[in-house]
């Protein structure tokens, strides 16, 4: 069995200010060596706080986190040797060139001059950055800066890499490039924990996913397992002009075998159902009386799992 690299036990974080905020509310997670793990949830779900605690930047209110067996609260400086971080924002050292950002990062981790130099040049070519080695971070595009940040984060060969919303603010092309880079890390055997609120990202990159909301883990498993456990459901969102008398329709829909749930929404009606051929025509027919303006169908995905679990959209 592969060793556990990240062990999170009963983790909580409460911010006591004017407003008491429970950011993390009892999270338990275990990451095995070499796996890519996705932490999926809407903004404010507690993803970034969880990562901050794991990376020794935030103190937990209770619970423990061990990275490669080292308690991050007891021995933060030691734990940091095993941790690589790609933060949500560009935190490259603006006073240093791209090459120097990598070189001095290696020096911070105890590399000698020659090994820091060799490692930096190797990373520059691996991440196709050699041409830009003497450029300052201020002159880099968002996608390039992100690439430098990933290169810097793995420069000291950490055991686990934390990626906090790695594709936030990236154009689609850069996002694809970033995905390729993360896929490449899999070959190096680095364990990766990434947070995202993009379903496709979690779905295509992660071996396992934890869906979290309000600081709690709602579901945990491989994307395939989550989709099958929580039903390969299709979501039909109907926008209606009026909803007078809709209750009767909802009641008759609920009576159907293939419908898991049906409820009124501010815009009209939401029906969650196992995919079935007959439902769509019936729905359209029933809705016609209420002035059907629009119909949105969401095919089974992590997104439908999430909506099923939380009752709300990720992007809300």
């Amino acid at each position: 069995m592969k060793p556990l690299i990240v062990e999170i036990e009963a983790l909580t974080k409460v911010y006591e200010s004017k407003l008491r905020v429970v950011a993390v509310d009892g999270i338990d997670l275990e990451l095995k060596q070499g796996e890519i793990f996705g932490l999926l949830g809407p903004n404010g779900a507690g993803k970034t706080t969880t990562i901050s605690i794991c990376t020794t930047r935030t103190l937990p209110t209770s619970g423990t986190v061990r990275i490669a067996g080292i308690d991050v609260v007891q021995h933060p400086a030691h734990a940091r040797r095993h941790i690589g971080v790609v933060p949500q924002f560009n935190t490259l050292d603006r006073s240093l060139t791209v090459y120097e950002n990598l070189y001095y990062h290696c020096r911070y981790f105890g590399f000698s001059h020659s090994s820091a130099r060799a490692r930096s040049l190797e990373l520059l070519s691996q991440f196709l950055l050699t041409e830009r080695k003497d450029v300052y971070p201020a002159a880099l595009s968002g996608g390039l800066a992100q690439r430098v940040q990933i290169a810097r984060a793995i420069a000291h060969r950490p055991t686990v890499l934390f990626l906090d919303e790695p594709s936030a603010g990236l154009d689609p092309q850069s996002r694809m490039a970033m995905w390729t880079a993360v896929e490449g890390l899999r070959k190096e055997g680095i364990t990766v924990l990434l947070t995202t609120h993009y379903m496709e990202e979690a779905d295509s990159l992660s071996d396992r996913v934890a869906i979290i909301d309000y600081g709690r883990v709602l579901a945990l498993g491989s994307p395939e397992k989550l989709k099958s456990t929580f039903g390969a459901h299709t979501i039909y969102d109907l926008k209606l002009k009026s909803n007078e008398g809709l209750e009767a329709v909802i009641a008759s829909l609920k009576a159907r075998e293939d419908v898991t749930s049906a409820e009124a929404t501010p815009a009209g009606l939401r029906v969650i159902a196992a995919s079935s051929e007959g439902l769509l025509p019936d729905l359209v027919q029933a809705a016609a009386r209420f002035g059907l303006r629009d119909l949105e169908i969401t095919e089974p995905s992590l997104e439908t799992v999430f909506i099923r679990l939380t009752g709300r959209d990720l992007r809300e």
């Binding site: 901050s52 990376t55 020794t56 930047r57 935030t58 103190l59 490669a68 067996g69 080292i70 308690d71 609260v73 007891q74 021995h75 933060p76 400086a77 030691h78 940091r80 040797r81 095993h82 941790i83 971080v85 933060p87 924002f89 560009n90 935190t91 490259l92 050292d93 603006r94 006073s95 240093l96 120097e100 950002n101 001095y104 990062h105 020096r107 911070y108 981790f109 105890g110 590399f111 810097r152």
Partner: protein
């Protein structure tokens, strides 16, 4: 606070067996990481070496030029010198060294920290290095202290060449000079740490006007504390709370011992006291900024 302080001293003192993955040689990486941070700062400084010299040299240069060269020539005698006493140049040489130490300490810590803590959060990568957080803050203070010492020593040749009546440094005890220089420079760096970790970049200009400038002018830079005690006694008592006083008086005791100055032991005690007090305060601010 004490909780975070303890927790951050983790390196090298882990109980045996408690954390199996800690490799031996933990203290070695501590020094290497510290060295790495110093090298980074040195690289950034060498890139800005001319601006650095201008920054630390311009003020004492102009000050000496105006007050010890131009004014004596205009008045046919130094209007600011007390008759028969030491020349004004002799009085302000240690004072200007203190100011140089102070300004470069603040410029080397407060200004970069304040922006690195700002929107860019550039400090993050250094905070994530395998060092306890207090050591990251200490590195900043140490590096600024080195700059402060260079800045202070630069003033000595200026004071020799510029004034109409040359001012000679007259060092009796090199040990005292070294102690005062190092302590005063660490003190300036600690003050920089306090300012840099508590003040936002927008307000840093204001801090210069309402804190840095007043403590300089009331810091026995342009006059001696003994003179102040004789003539404006209440102020002499009030400025005892001002750390710059001990920097100026300490350098006076070390560089121009002929001029009346405070006893050396009192100066050293005060310098140690203010350095540790400001260091603690600065570290607390630093931890608050990097650890939530």
């Amino acid at each position: 606070m004490s909780k975070t302080g303890n927790r951050e001293q983790g390196i090298g003192n882990g109980e045996p067996g408690a954390t199996p993955n800690i490799q031996p040689g933990g203290t070695g990486i501590f020094f290497k990481a510290f060295l790495g941070l110093l090298l980074r700062d040195l690289r950034v400084l060498t890139r800005e070496f001319i601006p650095f010299l201008l920054r630390v040299g311009m003020q004492p240069l102009l000050f000496l030029f105006v007050f010890t060269f131009i004014l004596p020539h205009m008045a046919g005698g130094n209007p600011l010198a007390s008759g028969g006493g030491p020349s004004f140049g002799t009085i302000i040489l240690p004072g200007l060294m203190a100011v140089a130490i102070m300004f470069s300490g603040i410029a080397a810590v407060a200004l970069p920290l304040s922006s690195e803590f700002g929107i860019t959060r550039e400090i993050d990568d250094r905070v994530m290095c395998p060092l306890p957080l207090w050591a990251v803050a200490l590195e900043k203070v140490c590096f600024s202290a080195m700059q402060s010492i260079v800045a202070a020593l630069l003033v000595i040749p200026m004071a020799y060449y510029i004034p109409a009546v040359p001012v000679r440094a007259d060092v009796h005890s090199w040990l005292l000079l070294a102690l005062v220089l190092v302590l005063a420079s660490l003190l300036a760096g600690s003050l920089g740490l306090v300012i840099g970790s508590t003040v936002s970049p927008k307000q840093i200009g204001l801090v210069f006007s309402i804190i840095v400038v007043p403590i300089t002018f009331l810091g026995c830079v342009y006059y001696t504390w003994a003179g102040l005690l004789k003539n404006v006694t209440w102020l002499a008592v009030a400025v005892l709370f001002n750390p710059i006083v001990y920097m100026s008086e300490g350098l006076r005791a070390a560089v121009t011992p002929g001029v009346a100055h405070m006893p050396w032991w009192a100066i050293l005690i005060a310098l140690v006291f203010f350095t540790s007090a400001l260091g603690r305060l600065g570290l607390r601010g630093f931890l608050r900024r990097v650890l939530s």
